[in-house]
Symmetry: C2
């Protein structure tokens, strides 16, 4: 399958522009001081995982976009929705320290990522498989955000940035 490089570049730029929130709003002292469950991933894993996930989703979106399938417009509309929620989560969690609104954003992200995976899979099997880890990671992130919210009722008042 040929790849449309300008289109891939657009999707990659979009994905990493979304990912820049993770650099703007990164885990600091506030996050370190939160009560977190034992299954919390180490901090170094997050940028690594996101690097792979962003590249995969951009390549998957490219495959879907050039497929010529009649449902492409819906798949790309859902791509836009999930990447907005993706951009939004870090500022609300790490910037505002508001765990419940962050959980709501993450629910929107989880639902739209799942819908995107289904839409991609219906159009192109490889694209569906490429975003499957993103569904798993977002589900895991949702469970983690939920657990941290339950364990830290006073998170918004805690010190650190």
């Amino acid at each position: 399958m040929l790849i449309d490089w300008p289109l891939f570049a657009l999707f990659v730029t979009t994905a990493f522009a979304a990912g820049s929130t993770g650099a703007f709003f990164s885990p600091g002292r506030w996050y370190a001081n939160l009560d977190k469950p034992g299954w919390t991933p180490p901090n170094w894993l997050f940028p690594l995982a996101w690097f792979v996930l962003y590249l995969s989703m951009a390549y998957a979106a490219t495959r879907v976009a050039i497929s010529g399938h009649p449902e492409v417009i819906y798949a790309l509309a859902i791509w836009g929705l999930q990447i907005v929620f993706n951009t939004l989560w870090s500022p609300v969690f790490f910037g505002l320290h508001r765990l419940l609104p962050a959980l709501v954003v993450l629910f929107g992200m989880w639902a739209s990522v799942l819908a995107m995976a289904v839409a991609f899979w219906r159009i192109d099997l490889v694209a569906g498989l490429l975003v499957a880890p993103y569904v798993v990671w977002t589900s895991y992130a949702f469970a983690l955000n939920f657990s941290i919210w339950r364990r830290n009722p006073d998170a918004a008042q805690m010190a650190g940035s």
Copy 2:
């Protein structure tokens, strides 16, 4: 022209999810204390303008998406890029108080909004006209962010949230 309501609902949800950063990160005491040029719009104008701009861009995107034009996939990819920059700006400006990085984000937004307007206009004249005010508003916002950055070298250290 018939409208595809589920598709329009997706674009509207995306636009207003992006716009929720304006509610999460709203102008407070820090912004009030900044040295701003005389042509700064009053605070009440921003949510009103964005409400109209978000609805217009969502409807324009819907018209473009259902057009059947071969360049639709590029137009929708650029839609995704501009809406990510749109989501990102408020957290960087109002959340981090970092005027120069916010200006960089706004430049990315301005360039992608302009590219989207051109792509939309090539596909559907009405869609192009519908996003023209968005180009004007983003150009104006860029000039305002630039002026505020020049006038407030110590913005990041100023008090208020």
